[in-house]
């Protein structure tokens, strides 16, 4: 409801900061295919702290989902392959590099659900159609905690209540197909939170839902996050969703981070021409209807023929002023605001509009 959680935002990097939960450094992921290897994620680095909602936005093919799946080693391998980088998960006493763990090792399975859990766009695909909701939660609880079935079932009911399902004692005995889309997503959240993970990865959690249901789920995620001090990584294509609940935002394009900033910085002062174009192309509530919208030229290119320099060069309105063949690096333009664009270097500052 309110947006007063500013106390746990924006203090990344400077004094008295919340605990670091996850650190991704220079991650490269590619997929083999008929037509050669596609580089899905290209040198992505970011951090997530306790109690923070990190939004990752981008269009199809930008590598946001692959990044998320890599955190849990859920990228199918082959054809997928982690080509480089580290994913460090910091727990209370140890640090684990997820990339170094074997695909289905005991270690990674101990992390899944217990340390990092994940919810997906289509909850029906993640729920087993033949087991009741209760059975599915109980199974996970028994796997990670020393408790008996009775206790686990009680805890399942409590969890369902916490995610706002009406009549949890009844729902616990129902099957996924008996629930609506919004209720299923709530069940998924309950399952994801069952083992009190440090980090919740939500991959397009509301894309398949109607706006009124989306509002419910976003509100729930926000409330739970504040209450449990959870770190949340929210992956979405919808700028509105990010603005609504994220603290910090990463904008991805073709496997690279092009801009990262706090949510207020990003929406008041977007800097990368891609972010600017994307935000301006969204219909605004104050424009006159039936006037032309600002639009980005072209379409997202295929991952197979990536431009050699800046990933956005083919669609960038300033491309003719800057050497497109050289790859820019991420530059800090104001505290906590990084952008990967030549326009913000000393050399090309004159080319800025």
């Amino acid at each position: 409801m309110e947006h007063s959680r500013v106390h746990n935002t924006n203090n990344n990097g400077r004094g008295g900061q919340p605990r670091l939960v996850l650190e991704v450094e220079d991650l490269y992921v590619s997929f083999g295919g008929y037509r050669g290897r596609t580089r899905a994620v290209n040198g992505v680095s970011f951090q997530i702290h306790q109690g923070e909602i990190l939004g990752i936005v981008g269009e199809s093919g930008c590598g946001k989902s692959v990044t998320a799946l890599s955190l849990l080693k859920l990228v199918p391998m082959p054809p997928g392959r982690i080509d480089g980088g580290t994913i460090s998960l910091h727990t209370d006493d140890t640090t684990v590099d997820v990339t170094a763990l074997a695909q289905d090792s005991r270690e990674i399975r101990a992390i899944r659900g217990r340390q990092i859990s994940m919810i997906f766009q289509e909850p029906m695909r993640s729920l087993h159609p033949m087991f009741s909701i209760g059975d599915q939660i109980v199974e996970i609880l028994l796997q990670h905690f020393a408790m008996n079935r009775r206790q686990a079932l009680d805890k399942a009911v409590a969890l369902l209540e916490r995610v706002g399902l009406p009549e949890p004692a009844r729902v616990v005995h129902e099957f996924p197909h008996q629930l609506s889309g919004g209720m299923r997503q709530r069940v998924m959240i309950a399952i994801a939170l069952a083992c009190e993970p440090q980090l919740l990865v939500a991959d397009e959690p509301t894309t398949a839902l109607d706006v009124t249901i989306q509002a419910q789920i976003l509100e729930l995620l926000q409330a739970l996050q504040a209450e449990m001090g959870l770190a949340v990584m929210l992956i979405t294509h919808d700028m509105g969703v990010v603005a609504e609940i994220a603290d910090r935002v990463i904008v991805m394009y073709l496997g690279e981070i092009v801009e990262t900033a706090s949510v207020d910085q990003l929406f008041t002062n977007p800097q990368h021409p891609y972010t600017q174009g994307l935000l301006r192309s969204i219909p605004n509530w104050t424009d006159q209807p039936k006037t032309p919208l600002h639009s980005l030229a072209g379409a997202v290119p295929e991952l197979l023929d990536l431009p050699a320099g800046c990933v956005f060069v083919e669609r960038c309105p300033f491309a003719d002023k800057v050497p497109g063949l050289r790859k820019p690096s991420l530059i800090e333009t104001e505290p906590g605001h990084f952008v990967k664009c030549w326009l913000y270097t000393e050399e090309f500052v004159h080319a800025r509009p």
Binding site: S180, A215, G240, G277, L278, I282, K290, L293
Partner: protein
């Protein structure tokens, strides 16, 4: 150019129900009232935006108007050669000969709406061939011209749909819809399957084509922001019925039905926190099953302003103070909040 006051299409108490059949003997166990008593009219050259959540019947309404579905009751009138023609019960044969060329449709997913086995040329030529509108060299010229119209190049006609990006595929689908120079096009979620950066291109193209050819659109979408941008008037659907309708800006700024208000309030806004609305209305519960709608007002079970009468009496769709039409017992009493009046920051009622 059509006279803008001409009604091009009008429905009266239009109903489309589906039988739910179960079991070996296929007994009918329930009726889904997907479209349940719709009155609307569309003037020549305007865009009517039809907005609602999944399962509210908006796509079924679009398909019923184009007679892909046979209506259960009510009527659809469509102006052909300056005469209103009741097309509700025309045979498919008759429709083909006299009506089809004047109305067309654009679908949500261009990957599904373009046959992957056909070249772009045969896709766009299909309506022209079917109506014997052109052949040979003339046909090829028409296809080339249509491709140019939608921002593609004539040599693209040799290619196959899979060689194009999502936005380009939608352009091909639009070219096909324009082939017979129809007056009326139903756009069923035409930008929902597209990437955000391409969406604006297609919306601009649709608006520009409307001006260029005097087209009339029924624009169906779940995305109120998009609908607001392209429409002259908006109709909001809930559970098979229209709950509110009126001029675009008025509906968004001063909604008169609680559902419209909630819908507007639920839209996540891509703006910084300090520009944000201060209060959000989050509806509880889910949309009821359209096979057994609530007895009174269909929105009553989720309505934050519900009174006793709401559960008992079905509200009529009637004109309100603000000059639109709403189906709410308290349309004139409630002070509902919209978006866009003073920046993006309306005050709370």
């Amino acid at each position: 150019m059509p006279d803008p006051d001409d009604i091009l299409l009008a429905t009266e108490d239009l109903r489309t129900h589906f039988a739910v059949r179960r079991g070996l003997l296929r007994r009918q166990v329930a009726t889904v009232r997907a479209v349940d008593g719709i009155d609307l009219s569309i003037k020549g050259g305007e865009t009517l935006g039809l907005v609602g959540e999944s399962g509210c019947g908006k796509s079924t309404l679009g398909r019923t108007i184009t007679r892909l579905e046979h209506p259960t009751g009510g009527s659809v009138g469509f102006r052909v050669d300056n005469q209103m023609l009741d097309i509700t019960n025309l045979s498919q044969n008759h429709l083909r000969r006299h009506v089809r060329r004047h109305m067309n449709m654009i679908f949500q997913d261009p990957l599904s709406s373009l046959n992957a086995r056909m070249s772009v040329k045969s896709v766009i030529a299909e309506p022209l061939v079917l109506h014997r509108a052109a052949r040979g060299k003339e046909l090829e010229d028409r296809v080339a011209q249509l491709l140019t119209t939608v921002g593609l190049q004539p040599h693209h006609m040799q290619r196959f749909p899979h060689a194009f990006s999502g936005g380009q595929r939608q352009r091909i689908a639009i070219a096909r819809a324009l082939a017979l120079q129809p007056r009326f096009i139903v756009c069923d979620e035409p930008v929902s399957a597209l990437d955000a950066s391409v969406r604006a291109q297609i919306l601009n193209l649709l608006m520009q084509l409307q001006q260029q050819f005097g087209l009339t659109y029924l624009f169906i979408s779940h995305d109120l922001a998009v609908v607001r941008h392209v429409s002259d008037r908006i109709a909001v659907m809930y559970l098979g019925q229209i709950v509110e309708r009126g001029p675009t800006v008025a509906i968004c700024q001063t909604p008169q039905h609680p559902y419209t208000e909630a819908l507007l309030s639920a839209i996540p806004m891509p703006v910084a926190r300090h520009e944000r609305r201060s209060k959000r209305i989050v509806l509880t519960g889910d949309v009821p099953n359209p096979a057994s709608p609530p007895p009174g007002c269909r929105f009553a079970p989720r309505c934050p302003y519900r009174q006793q009468i709401c559960d008992e009496e079905i509200p009529e769709l009637k004109p309100t103070r603000q000059g639109h039409t709403a189906a709410c017992h308290f349309a004139d009493e409630l002070e509902l909040v919209g978006i866009g009046k003073t920046g993006a920051q309306p005050t709370t009622a």
